[in-house]
């Protein structure tokens, strides 16, 4: 007995020493990084607990590894959201013909698949026709307006349209192209994981694939001379934002697109010479949607007053760490700034913060404050609305909390209600919500944004699922503007259509823009250089917007 007690006491005294020995042994035994060859370019884009080997570029669900459609496979053109132009990639040019019912695309000539086979127009037509036979591979429903895709010769592809639909260009040109000689033998392309991809992109060789780490090597046959400058890419499985941020802070990651709170202190402060970020506002705007079928909220003046009550500066500071700016009256963020109409900007004075005016407008609209300082409906009930947010989407929850406090100032009682994504989405889509924060449709022009906000195309009665236009607002004029837009490829005409749409938007306030959605991008210049920056904006920095990040992948260079 005594001996046991003694051993125990010794163990207590020894335990710190044992621990230290342990650590030393482990540190010695664990071989650190073998220093062979140039350092890998470490990218953190996906946050997963373990990787699954899937390089199928046609699967829409995002279950194939990044950068399958923006590094391994390539599209015909890449839309550069910083410059607003289509960069020719596998194609060199396009031409609308036959009253915009036919599109001819000329392909680049010196492109070779990574297995040495030449890239031809047959590959392009095969890709699109495979999508026709497998509807599940056509998430953007290209075959809703396409009639046929044919290879006219080795380097010319002809798209014929069922109806005039000029905006379809965007989807067609961004399609990743697959090799016919490989895929024609695949039985079920929908369930094909394509473990060893044959592609045209700058990186095609899978050097290593484990659940926690994988590496992608350079394409030996890449068509751009001397590119990419980077030898290999490496990806670690960081399951949480926190883990990914730690890695970034520790300098283990060279390029990432994470949300990091207090980034100047947390990230840049660690190594100000090498740690950088750039959050250009190329995305859409984040909106507060109000259900226009509900009494009180169906009033245009009320919606404008609500907008005036919201302190966007505070939201941007509290919820977004000042990474972005309050929304523009037209809801067009910096990326779409050239499209802004001056008239609309002037009329959109309700996208501002003015509590007094908000109160006045509500008083004028006939909703007087009750005894508790809360405004009353005509039936005498106090105003009360839920602001629905997806649980876990913390930035928006913070924003909603600010909004809730703001609205209280003008006599509107609200409650922030968080719900699981599925439940939230179905309540939004079915129009069974009061207010909610959500995104908008994006695209190279504001057309998709305004169509989604105001066209009757997607308007559904409450209780039925509406894909967009959850707030349920429709304008006949917008409908006809949309039709006109789809039919023209004339730049001036397009501009006039977009201007008119903006005016309709600011007059009716169908939804309330809050702030511009930034695109997250961080990079480390310790080992690599030539990232896009505000001074050299050759593309947006974020890896989260394929295929645009192809531009970054081929341009980054080792130091």
């Amino acid at each position: 007995m005594y001996s046991i007690h003694c051993i125990y006491q010794y163990a207590l005294k020894l335990s710190p020493m044992v621990l230290i020995c342990f650590i030393l042994i482990f540190n010695c035994c664990t071989q650190h990084e073998k220093n062979s060859g140039p350092p890998p370019f470490v990218i953190s884009q996906e946050q997963v607990s373990s990787f699954v080997r899937n390089f199928n570029p046609l699967i829409p669900s995002g279950s194939s590894r990044w950068p399958t459609i923006s590094g391994i496979y390539e599209p015909l053109f890449i839309y550069n959201s910083m410059t607003g132009i289509y960069v020719p990639w596998l194609a060199t040019g396009y031409e609308w013909k036959d009253g915009n019912l036919q599109l001819d695309v000329t392909l680049r000539e010196n492109v070779i698949w990574s297995d040495g086979e030449p890239f031809t127009a047959n590959d392009v037509s095969f890709t699109f026709n495979l999508k026709k036979t497998n509807a599940a591979l056509d998430p953007r429903a290209s075959w809703g307006y396409l009639k046929s895709v044919e290879a006219i010769n080795n380097h010319l592809v002809r798209f014929k349209f069922l109806r005039i639909f000029v905006p379809g260009l965007h989807a067609l040109t961004e399609q990743a192209i697959i090799p016919k000689h490989i895929w024609e033998n695949i039985e079920d392309p929908v369930k094909f994981t394509n473990p060893d991809p044959v592609a045209t992109g700058p990186f095609t060789e899978i050097l290593r694939f484990d659940h926690q780490i994988w590496e992608l090597g350079r394409n030996p046959h890449y068509w751009q001379e001397g590119k990419p400058a980077v030898e290999r890419l490496r990806f670690y499985a960081y399951p949480t934002n926190e883990q990914a941020t730690i890695a970034l802070i520790n300098g283990e990651v060279d390029w990432a697109g994470n949300f990091i709170p207090a980034i100047d202190r947390v990230f840049v402060g660690r190594d100000p010479d090498n740690h950088h970020y750039w959050f250009p506002r190329v995305g859409g705007s984040i909106f507060l949607y109000v259900n226009t079928t509900k009494p009180f909220l169906d009033n245009i003046e009320v919606r404008k007053a609500i907008s005036l009550a919201i302190n966007r500066e505070l939201i941007v500071r509290v919820a977004m760490y000042d990474y972005t700016i309050p929304a523009h009256p037209t809801a067009l963020a910096d990326g779409l700034a050239p499209w802004r109409s001056e008239t609309a900007t002037e009329n959109g004075d309700w996208v501002a913060y003015d509590i007094n005016r908000a109160n006045e407008m509500l008083d004028e609209a006939g909703f007087k404050k009750g005894p508790n300082g809360i405004r009353l409906l005509p039936d005498g009930n106090e105003l009360f609305f839920d602001i629905s947010i997806v649980s876990g989407w913390s930035d928006w929850i913070r924003a909603a909390q600010v909004i809730s406090q703001n609205l209280k100032m003008v006599g509107i009682n609200t409650r922030v209600k968080t719900r699981d994504f599925g439940a939230w989405l179905s309540s939004m889509q079915n129009g069974e919500f009061d207010m909610g924060i959500a995104w908008t449709e994006k695209g190279p022009t504001p057309y998709r944004l305004y169509r989604g906000l105001m066209s009757s195309e997607f308007l559904k009665p409450v209780g039925e699922t509406a894909e967009v236009n959850w707030h349920r607002f429709a304008s006949d004029e917008v409908d006809s503007l949309c039709i006109a837009f789809e039919k023209t490829s004339d730049r001036d005409e397009i501009k006039q259509i977009i201007y008119r749409m903006q005016e309709i938007f600011v007059d009716n306030a169908p939804a309330i823009p809050l702030f511009a959605e930034p695109s997250w991008g961080q990079y480390n210049t310790k080992r690599f250089t030539n990232f896009p920056t505000a001074k050299n904006p050759y593309a947006q920095i974020s890896p989260n917007y394929p295929p645009e990040n192809l531009l970054v992948l081929v341009n980054v260079e080792p130091k």
């Binding site: 990091i260 709170p261 699981d420």
Partner: protein, 310 residues
């Protein structure tokens, strides 16, 4: 006349707790947190208000510093106590209620009723709790009611099992047979004759279930499965983690909450230690006995000889 009995049993019990050092300090610890939860929100600044520079360290104006959104951590810690403790104790209550109901019925009636009920109890016992909790919590609308429900669903079985076996032991005792022979109804036997005998078990079950509920609740909320727009200890930790509190070195955003959770659970555990000792006087006698022994002399299974002690 008859009222003396209930006073007496309760009185004896309370006296036992007060005289027990562990139970007393545990009770004081827990009571002080309950007090904080009850009156705290009226004396602190608005925990929701965005007051100051985010993540500023503890200072005279903000004793516990501010969160990633510039809210007062002290105010958040204090007002977080309310819902956390409420959900914790409510779960504890319902777990014991259901446990006493199902375990009690199962143990008292035996036979086929017991076969079925104890099968259900055992099935719930072996089912892994967290996955079930996560699935349930993510399905139901977030909020205190959901949390309580989920925690009760995944947590009742253990107490049922304990109460069932205690009930089975008591049910075979002669005083129950005597009550049956004198014609008492079963419900009265269970409530008036048996339940008072299980008081300490019920109390410690309640405390155990509350500890479990506080821990599991905080865990679920930490994963973002609670209603993160309300202020609880779990959501405090969720926000701290969301704002990368540790990375930024802002330990003050999560240490106070973590310590509070630990103190409440520890206080409850101490009460349970105390209940254990009160119901098992042998432990205390043995401690007193040890005082008589010469220093360093343990119990080696040889009765000590101490002559002429005081």
């Amino acid at each position: 006349m008859a009222s003396r009995k209930s006073d007496s049993i309760l009185f004896r019990w309370v006296k036992g707790i007060i005289h027990n050092k562990k139970a007393l300090s545990g009770s004081l610890l827990v009571l002080s947190f309950i007090m904080i939860a009850a009156i705290g929100p009226y004396i602190t600044v608005d925990p929701n208000a965005f007051l100051d520079t985010p993540l500023s360290p503890p200072s005279a104006s903000h004793w516990f510093g501010t969160t990633g959104q510039g809210q007062d951590v002290l105010a958040q810690t204090i007002s977080g106590a309310r819902q956390t403790l409420l959900v914790g104790f409510a779960t504890g209550f319902f777990v014991v209620l259901i446990g006493a109901l199902i375990g009690g019925i199962s143990g008292f009636y035996g036979g086929k009723v017991d076969d079925v009920l104890s099968m259900i109890i055992n099935v719930f016992l072996v089912m892994p709790g967290l996955p079930l909790m996560v699935i349930l919590a993510s399905w139901l609308p977030p909020g205190p009611l959901t949390l309580t429900g989920v925690l009760v669903i995944t947590g009742w079985a253990w107490n049922s099992r304990v109460i069932r076996s205690q009930m089975m032991a008591l049910r075979d005792r002669d005083f129950v047979s005597a009550a049956i022979v004198s014609g008492e109804r079963n419900i009265r036997i269970i409530l008036i004759e048996i339940m008072p005998r299980m008081l300490s078990l019920l109390a410690s079950s309640f405390i155990g279930a509350s500890i479990y509920a506080i821990g599991a609740q905080v865990g679920l909320e930490f994963l973002g499965l609670g209603d993160v727009s309300t202020i609880t200890w779990g959501t405090n930790l969720y926000w701290a983690s969301n704002d990368l509190a540790l990375l930024t070195g802002s330990w003050w955003t999560f240490v106070p909450t973590g310590i509070c959770i630990a103190f409440v659970s520890f206080g409850l555990t101490l009460i349970n230690f105390g209940i254990d000792e009160v119901t098992n006087p042998r432990l205390i006698s043995e401690r007193n006995w040890r005082k008589y022994l010469p220093k360093g002399k343990g119990n080696d299974g040889i009765t000590p000889v101490i002559k002429n002690h005081a």
